[in-house]
Amino acid sequence: MNATWSRFNVTSIVLGFAFLYLPIVLLIVFSFNESKLVTVWGGFSTKWYVSLFHNQGLMDATWVTARVGVISATVATVLGTLAALTLTRYTRFRGRVLFSGMVFAPLVMPEVITGLSLLLLFVAVGLDRGFLTVTLAHITLTMCFVAVVVQSRLVSFDRSLEEAAMDLGATPVKTFFQITLPVILPAIVSGWMLAFTLSLDDLVIASFTSGPGATTLPMKIYSQVRLGVTPEINAACTILIAVVAVGVIIASIANKRREVQRQLDEQTAQRG
């Protein structure tokens, strides 16, 4: 490989990652700032974390967000997996084009449109805005992301395994739970995590579809940011980043371990 190209490649990767990570690093660093000014360093302190835990509004919002996230991610994972199965397994049925359109369009749809349209639906059917409506809205948005993640795994799935199981007398349902599900499980897990983080993250759709008593953390952070930037928000953001980072790292380690185990099993099977 050409040396100048390779140097160019390394430089662009380093600069690119610096651009991606520096703002987040700075945000975390200044959450430990003694000074009330977010951008002037006044010494190390954890007082903003302490004050964070005494901020009842923020704690309530965190609890709401966590519940919405877990419930919506779980339902979205089931629905998204079914949608992915539909997309990959049933190539011809009436309304398939419409279906794939409804799965892919929410991925790029501006959030203001999705939020407004869901709100108007809830008003039209007479559903009071609150915890339930935010959860329903998040399920709708995130199931499409789950569908795409699971679908990419299903496409590379070896169908002959399923056929073998059914030739040996397993029912389609049993085949799904014993053969298909374990193979696509890593994709389902990362789909769940993606759905959870998207729900944790969403400001726009939650603002439209939420009501009194169901203020989510991003809504709370947003309203505080509008009033002014404080280290307390930096602290809240840092905790959020830490939670997600730990989750992602654990998932990727578990994934790798499962992959290694699978390869070992395959080798044993081939030898045996």
Partner: protein, 322 residues
């Protein structure tokens, strides 16, 4: 093969199975399709019909704040009476007020420029990643995806502290004596560009990387052996081969960026104009649901063609994966 594909493939054994089991399988197969289908129909498609309906109604001081349109309560005659009450006043209003037209045009221009900037920033990163040693590629990929997992709102918020007049960027530039006066970046269109490029960069890098990674590098070597300089080898071979990735990446950035709210609101301030913010203000500040619905309908029409292109690109990619 139709929607009973799973049972078809196992014909020999299922034929011998009890009738009820087969019936159950068919039922399960149908359920797999029907449940997500109905969910999306009800929560994604029908809402758009309602948005369109309400965009044709009048603002009213009530809850919900609009006059009823196409009420089925009045029976058939009531339905047709409702039809006569439909009007396009909100759309007429949108064309008369230059603000909306300007907001649409500005949003499309800002999204287009930001998409181009994201491509320029993202391409070298994706290219570098695709040429990296195979052992560190998964790590690099993970590092690109990771910021996507951290909150969008937080990542935008982080830039306020950097771009402020007394912010970190100005402190750095002042201390290095590159500038004498703080630059005004926050609350300008420049800040919006930075925000969009930063937030959407992973969406650009990932599809670019996946198309560049598949490329056969020996093509470049062959071109080089035949005396082709690296720059023209890039434009004649590498870039054309990465076009599917470029298209997918650009659509993934452009479409949501047109309707973006958080970035123009937090980084653009009150002096910048974008349609997502206009819709938000119409809805939350003015409480004018019919006008904000009309704004949404036009925004959706504006994005129909890019969204259909995106869908086609997705379907094509799916076919190629098989």
């Amino acid at each position: 093969m139709s929607n009973i594909a799973v049972t078809d493939t196992a014909m020999p054994s299922t034929a011998a199975k009890p009738f009820l089991t087969r019936l159950g399988a068919g039922f399960v197969n149908r359920l797999v399709i029907i449940v997500p289908y109905l969910w999306l129909l009800f929560f994604f498609l029908i809402p758009f019909v309602i948005v369109f309906k309400i965009s044709l109604s009048q603002t009213a001081i009530a809850m919900p704040p609009y006059t009823p349109v196409l009420d089925f309560k009045g029976g058939v005659s009531g339905f047709f009476a409702g039809f006569r009450n439909l009007n396009f006043d909100n759309y007429v209003w949108l064309t008369q007020d230059a603000l909306y037209f300007k907001a649409y045009v500005t949003s499309v221009i800002i999204a287009a420029i930001s998409t181009l900037l994201t491509l320029i920033v993202g391409y070298p990163i994706a290219y570098g990643m695709s040429r990296a040693p195979a052992t560190i590629r998964p790590t690099l990929l993970m590092l690109v995806i990771l910021p996507f997992w951290t909150s969008f709102l937080i990542r935008v918020y982080a830039w306020i502290g950097i771009l402020k007049p007394e912010g970190l960027l100005n402190q750095l530039l002042l201390s290095l004596h590159i500038i004498n006066q703080p630059l005004v970046i926050l609350n300008t269109y420049t800040a919006i560009f930075i925000g969009i490029v930063y937030s959407y960069l992973p969406f650009m890098v990932l599809p670019l990387y996946s198309s560049l990674e598949k490329m056969d590098y020996s093509l470049i070597e062959a071109a080089k052996d035949l005396g082709c300089p690296p720059t023209s080898a890039f434009w004649k071979i590498t870039f054309p081969l990465s076009v599917p990735g470029v298209i997918a990446g650009c659509l993934l950035v452009f479409i949501p960026a047109v309707g973006e709210f958080v970035i123009p609101d937090l980084l653009g301030g009150s002096s910048t104009l974008m349609i997502g913010k206009t819709l938000w203000n119409e809805f939350f500040a003015n409480r004018d649901w019919p006008v904000s619905s009309a704004v949404a309908v036009i925004l959706l029409l504006l994005l129909t063609v890019p969204i259909m292109l995106f869908q086609q690109a997705q379907a094509k990619a799916q076919e190629q994966d098989k």
